[in-house]
Symmetry: C2
Subunit: 387 residues, 2 copies
């Protein structure tokens, strides 16, 4: 087992009705909130009204920044940071999914920075502070509610970068599974794929770590079990709560201790969706199983065999390679069963930009820690994924 | 899934050589440390000298309190609290196993309390603060390094109570698996049993929680896999590190979210070891499998079947009850294989005090949340465990 630091200060309130803690939590940090949210979802479900009512009845002033995009843009970070400065905001409260929480992290950091916040995401400067951040989660997917990461897109430069600082952990996150009852089939599928990808990009590692592998399998098994149940019955509380906390644990440090992140899937997908603005998880669903098929080799067949048997419960007859391939087939079939794409064609991407994407994805050199992949390897995976 | 709060502020530094962070971590809190430790183990392994050398070369003053007992006593808490007051200590640094860390938590709280610290453990008062606590772990067992719990014995009143406050989480814990290379066979076995018991007292629950169950199984599988390897080769780093972090995760909140603690095993064992001063885990090893045999019923057979198949990998033929019983047999055989006792006779306890123990264990009413047990049930389990 490799050395690691394990520390996560986020306070999570999980379960139906936990919004009852909101006013107390906010008031620990002040009386003026920037409310950050996305499109109309939280208004449709009544959560917007509920949050405003709780805040106003507790004499907490609210400035609003709605309309955060699914791939949040640097323009929103700039705007939010300026609002914080103009209105002397005490806490940035994100109400939404991972994109909204990611945006809140950038905004809270921009609020205490004199330059352009793209400096953080382009790694030109580090941050030395942020306003306190709170989150109310409405989508089980990114894990942003319990980590410091923030992914923001700059469509001017066609770049999508992940970043975070010691100050961008939310102080608190409220996770009420009933808020995800209205999430539609495709978005639920996206959350399932995002969670699984977060886990398997750490599970598939050359770092030996039995405990971590078993914990990763525990989360993946839960997602594979409950994903289809949540899609079949969107108000299944048990399914929604298992998916929600699985997505949180998938990227809060638990699946990563002592492990090196593989990174192929996320790195390549960020390039794809900076070009095409497709849903992040659609890109991940296309890439994941094709990546597995490409990197499966003699020397890592044991790991794929464990994955096949322990997560997908496949038939254990035949050679190790047979079993390993059966596991990868199961990923393809699972994604198809929840109506997620497994080819680029399904997300309207043809072969025109593939060379540029492969080149961008490997602009700093080979990618992938489990199996190191060159520009040519990435291009081959993309071509294999065409249709 | 039941509602829960998930929050653990402890900063864990895991792996060989992580003591390099010690001076920096201590200096965040001050320049004067109460060094709390047990008997001679940390001196024999050279850790005592190393810690003193790091502290003195960083101008950190040290007051010492050695000799903490394996079942730490309230007298040590009183003495340590007084030392903190007399010497204006800034941080209580525990170097040792769970007992030493438990003592440090009591001492750090006593340091800021005017009354007798037994008031905490007898639930007469709550604590409103504690000195900062740091820990350097030398035994993989109790999980105290990443939780707020502290168990202390009062031999005058023959009581052993667990207690904790929001202030008794260590600020940091250094977990170096090489510090456990010198732990002998019996103490390694005790750690294994303690960890498994922490997990199965939460695993066996009537609360439905798929994700939590799978995570519990992940930890138990790891302990069952590596326990015998660590006993066979005490310097097996991979085995020691997996056991160490398993014991930490077993009682840091991860295995408990949304679950009600069963409590039979720990409650009854605390009474036994307040009477007999046997090793805590010897008592747990005796009680655990006998408890399972007694509580296994038609209506919980599915849970025992999952335990048997997913943790112990038993043959899955026959009736559900057959499979469930095979799992419990596997626990007996596993404990015997690592030379842990599974009868009271082996720890020199006869039937003389069993009625008193059963009565004490149930003094507040039935115990056990998975299956509620009366005084008579407890007595029957104890008698079944005699030999």
């Amino acid at each position: 087992m490799n050395n690691f630091v394990f520390h996560n200060p986020v306070e999570v309130y999980f379960g139906q009705g936990e919004i009852k803690h909101l006013a107390r939590l906010v008031k620990q940090y002040g009386k003026k909130v920037l409310l950050v949210y996305g499109k109309s979802a939280i208004k449709r479900m009544g959560l917007y009204d509920e949050v405003l009512s709780i805040l106003s009845s507790n004499d907490i002033a609210v400035v609003e920044l709605g309309g955060i995009d699914p791939n949040p843009r640097i323009e929103s970070i700039r705007e939010g940071g300026q609002l914080c400065k103009d209105h002397q905001i005490d806490l940035v409260l994100a109400v939404g999914g991972g994109s909204v929480i990611d945006a809140a992290k950038g905004i809270a950091s921009a609020a205490l920075y004199d330059g352009d916040p793209w400096d953080f995401y382009s790694y030109k400067t580090s941050s030395d502070g942020a306003l306190p951040i709170g989150a109310i989660l409405t989508l089980a997917a990114t894990g942003s509610e319990m980590n410091r990461g923030s992914v923001v897109t700059n469509f001017t430069t066609r770049e999508k970068h992940g970043w975070g600082s010691p100050y961008t952990y939310p102080k608190f996150s409220i996770l009420d599974p009933t808020y995800t009852f209205t999430v539609n089939k495709h978005q639920t599928g996206c959350g399932i794929v995002d969670t699984l990808t977060h886990v398997y990009e750490l599970y598939f590692s050359t770092d030996k770590n039995h405990l971590n592998d078993r914990l990763c399998e525990a989360i993946m098994k839960t997602v594979v079990h409950y994903g289809p149940l949540a899609i079949a019955n969107p108000s299944d509380y048990e399914a929604r709560s298992n998916l929600m906390f699985s997505s949180t644990l998938a990227l809060n440090g638990l699946t990563g201790f002592g492990k090196t992140w593989d990174g192929f899937n996320h790195t390549t997908e960020h390039v794809i969706s900076a070009f095409y603005d497709i849903a992040h998880a659609d890109g991940l669903a296309v890439l994941g199983p094709h990546w597995m098929r490409y990197v499966l080799k003699e020397d890592n067949v044991q790991k794929f065999k464990e994955f096949a048997l322990n997560v997908w419960n496949v038939d254990n007859t035949g050679s190790d390679l047979d079993i390993a391939q059966r596991g990868i087939d199961a990923v393809f079939m699972f994604y198809q069963s929840i109506e997620m794409p497994t080819t680029l064609q399904e997300v309207d991407i043809d072969d025109r930009e593939l060379e540029t994407i492969a080149s961008q994805a490997t602009r700093h050199g080979n990618i992938g820690n489990f199996v190191s992949l060159s520009e040519q390897d990435v291009l081959t995976i993309l071509r294999n994924a065409l249709n």
